[in-house]
């Protein structure tokens, strides 16, 4: 369906299902229970899941297919954000021009940077992209302050021109919206002990993410995608087969740059602020980590990786000692102290430690990322099944 094979159609429907029902799936625990701490179904985090999902999907088109490891992709997200905020400042709070500008500006920038950096491959390419991104970060945070707002970030102000929109609403800056539909409006549904938030901005991002995901599947299974995979496995042979690898890599680079710009545009559409640290090398590293953690070269992996990282950043970091003590309060005093002491380094301010440990475990034991983990679990079940029905041999999962 939609020009996809059966497997990819199933994958697409799975993704549609997941994002459509995310408000339920992300809030599995009753709001009053101790486990509610692990609920992630509030608008901001759900938006982040899908926005960074888009970022990682785009990155995967470059890295997963061609094997070119860009260490400066956050630069495109950053300029996308700046472009978006400037559209808000100049034109008005409709998100469509902002997002369009984000994609276009990021695309143009990636043409320039890609053209230069793709003259080299391997780690030399990585360092070139890193150098460009770091330069842009440094300049944005300092000498370009008039355009970028410097370290504070580019924020809206009441005196912005906004030629097509209201300057102020009740003395406040208007909020981003889609032809009057405010991105921040939320519909709360209460069901027993549970509560679920349905946020306009989230569903807007989710629809775009599904489209982005669909486009990525199409690219993966297109002749163009085949050429990109060929570049990854043997660029020499490709050149001696009469194919010019440069425009292919450049196209992949620009597409993934535009995905990053789209993510940047959506970020400001949800929260109209653009900061320079979005372009810092750690932000570029984060998308690399998301992609590899989820499973580079797989279609769903980067989305899972993005979700895992953002979950840790936003949920684990908010657990504090008080909460921990509450969890273990059912235990005898001595024992609860031991548990609290053991777990305390990993939560709250120690969430980086958890992050580091999780990376290492996944990379060591699941070279194919979370997707491989899923496949292993699946193969355990399907092996059981084949024992019952030996007729149909279990297919070994594709790597």
């Amino acid at each position: 369906m939609f020009g996809l094979n059966a497997k990819n159609t199933r994958l697409l429907f799975l993704v549609i299902f997941l994002v459509a029902f995310a408000p339920f799936l992300m809030n599995p625990f009753p709001t009053d229970s101790a486990m509610a701490q692990f609920n992630a179904g509030y608008p901001d985090l759900m938006q982040r899941f899908v926005i960074f999902g888009i970022f990682a999907i785009g990155f995967n088109i470059l890295f997963g297919l061609t094997g070119y490891l860009s260490f400066g992709h956050a630069a495109f997200l950053g300029v996308g954000s700046y472009a978006g905020v400037w559209m808000f400042k100049l034109l008005g709070m409709n998100i469509i021009p902002a997002i369009a500008a984000s994609v276009v500006v990021a695309g143009l920038l990636s043409v320039v940077i890609g053209f230069v950096c793709l003259r080299r491959s391997g780690i030399y390419f990585s360092i070139l992209t890193l150098a460009f991104a770091q330069m842009m970060f440094s300049l944005a945070a300092s000498v370009l302050t008039p355009i970028t707002g410097g370290e504070t970030g580019l924020t809206l102000s009441l005196n912005d021109p906004r030629i097509f929109g209201a300057g102020a609403v009740d003395g406040n800056i208007p909020v981003p919206g889609f032809f009057g539909l405010e991105m921040r409006s939320t519909y709360e549904m209460v069901m027993g002990g549970w509560s679920f938030s349905f946020n306009t901005g989230y569903y807007f991002c989710a629809i775009i993410m599904v489209l982005a995901f669909y486009a990525s599947i199409r690219i993966f299974q297109s002749p163009f995608g085949l050429m990109l995979r060929a570049i990854k496995t043997n660029q020499t042979r490709l050149n001696y087969t009469g194919l010019n690898s440069r425009p292919y890599t450049l196209a992949a680079f620009v597409i993934s740059g535009m995905y990053a710009g789209l993510a940047g545009g959506l970020m400001v559409a949800m929260d109209p602020l653009a900061g320079a640290e979005r372009m810092f090398w750690t932000a570029s590293g984060e998308v690399v980590i998301m992609t590899i953690l989820g499973g580079a070269g797989t279609m769903i992996g980067p989305v899972l990786g993005a979700g895992a990282i953002k979950y840790m950043e936003n949920i684990v970091s908010k657990i504090n000692k008080g909460i921990l003590e509450q969890w273990f309060s059912f235990m005898p005093d001595g024992m609860s102290d031991i548990f609290v002491t053991l777990i305390y380094p990993f939560i709250g301010k120690g969430w980086h430690l958890t992050l580091g440990v999780v990376f290492m475990l996944v990379i060591i034991f699941l070279p194919g990322g979370l997707v491989e983990g899923g496949q292993r679990i699946k193969s355990i079940f399907s092996r059981k099944k084949t024992e019952d029905t030996p007729a149909d041999g279990a297919k070994t999962p594709a790597e």
Partner: protein, 343 residues
């Protein structure tokens, strides 16, 4: 003219730190083919060896001093280092004063051990994995290491001053015929420079003149062949990793008086040291050293007031700009070999 000489000195000083870190990174990459993002963390752990030694030397028992009051108005608890009880006040003071140089002796075994454990426990399983996996796992390790340090030592910088004998500055200008007090440079930074030169020379001599070094160099050139000769290259590579860890650690130990160590100092150096390694040419030791000094000097000159006024922001980007120009004109960096890390 004075300004130029001063900036040159400053550049050499900065370059020596870059070169030292890049040297270790290149050793690991050249021998093991591993891109080690935890190298900055090793540098940081080296620096914290100094802090640890300082803490050990100043392990104290408390004596209540009724004549003084603490901030709550209670009698002041004075910390008296045990070492003071053993060797007397003045000897103790001078031992504590010399804790940074002493930390070298402390750091060598510690770093060697950490390096070997890291290689045997983790890195060796990643020799055949893609570079991206190596980057990620070592990056994860770097985060874990720095969080552990943060857990024990906090996030604030911890001062670790140089011995009193090295405080103050040396009047370099007089040697070169300038007026006194025009070109002065801190003693400890000169010590650091000399130390870096010795370590770099030592590593080169080790690789050049020992059989161990010869085998390792052969292994760097062609690992398979060396393996076929029946030489246990793995053991030697483990030692190389230990050596690289020691180099990084010592660089960190000696760096502490220059900047008070904190848990993220390794990350601050990581990106720049990778740029240095790549600009020098992946796998080339002389390239790493050369690039370290070239970029250090460039950085120093770009930081001059006159230059910044002319080109605002150039001090922020000069290293990256230089890296781009060098990589575009010399595809494999300054002294890189063909075919290394190009795919």
């Amino acid at each position: 003219m004075e300004a130029i000489v001063l900036q040159l000195l400053s550049g050499l000083d900065g370059g020596s730190a870059y070169a030292l870190i890049a040297l270790g990174l290149t050793l690991i990459f050249g021998t093991l083919g591993v891109v080690n993002f935890a190298h900055g963390a090793l540098f940081m752990i080296g620096a914290f060896c100094t802090v640890t030694l300082q803490r050990i030397l100043t392990l104290s028992h408390t004596v209540i001093d009724d004549t003084q009051k603490d901030f709550l108005g209670n009698p002041l608890k004075v910390q008296v280092p045990y070492i003071q009880d053993w060797v007397g006040e003045s000897a103790a003071a001078s031992i504590i004063d010399w804790s940074v140089p002493l930390a070298i002796l402390f750091a060598i075994p510690v770093m060697l051990l950490i390096g070997i454990i890291m290689e045997r426990g983790l890195i060796k399983h990643f020799y055949k994995r893609p570079h991206a996996d190596q980057i990620l796992v070592t990056f994860g390790l770097a985060i874990v290491l720095q969080e552990i340090i943060k857990y024990f030592f906090g996030a604030n910088p911890i001062p670790a001053p140089a011995p009193d004998a090295f405080k103050g500055s040396f009047d370099f200008g007089v040697l070169l015929g300038f007026d006194p007090n025009v070109i002065i440079y801190p003693y400890w930074r000169l010590v650091y420079f000399a130390f870096a030169a010795i370590i770099i020379a030592g590593v080169f001599a080790f690789l050049q003149f020992t059989t161990f070094g010869m085998v390792v160099r052969a292994g760097m050139a062609d690992r398979e062949t060396v393996g076929l000769l029946g030489i246990d290259i793995d053991k030697r590579f483990t030692m190389m990793f230990g050596l690289a860890a020691v180099v990084a650690g010592l660089a960190g130990v000696m760096y502490t008086p220059i900047n008070s160590p904190n848990y993220h100092m390794g990350m601050d150096f990581l990106v720049i040291s990778f740029v240095v390694v790549v600009v020098g040419g992946m796998g080339s030791l002389p390239g790493a050293v050369l690039a370290g000094f070239v970029l250090g000097i460039l950085q120093s000159f770009a930081s001059m007031r006159e230059v910044i006024e002319f080109l605002p922001g150039i001090n922020q980007v000069v290293i990256y700009l230089a890296a781009i120009v060098i990589l575009l004109t010399r595809p494999r960096g300054l002294l890189g070999k063909r075919g290394v890390m190009e795919d």
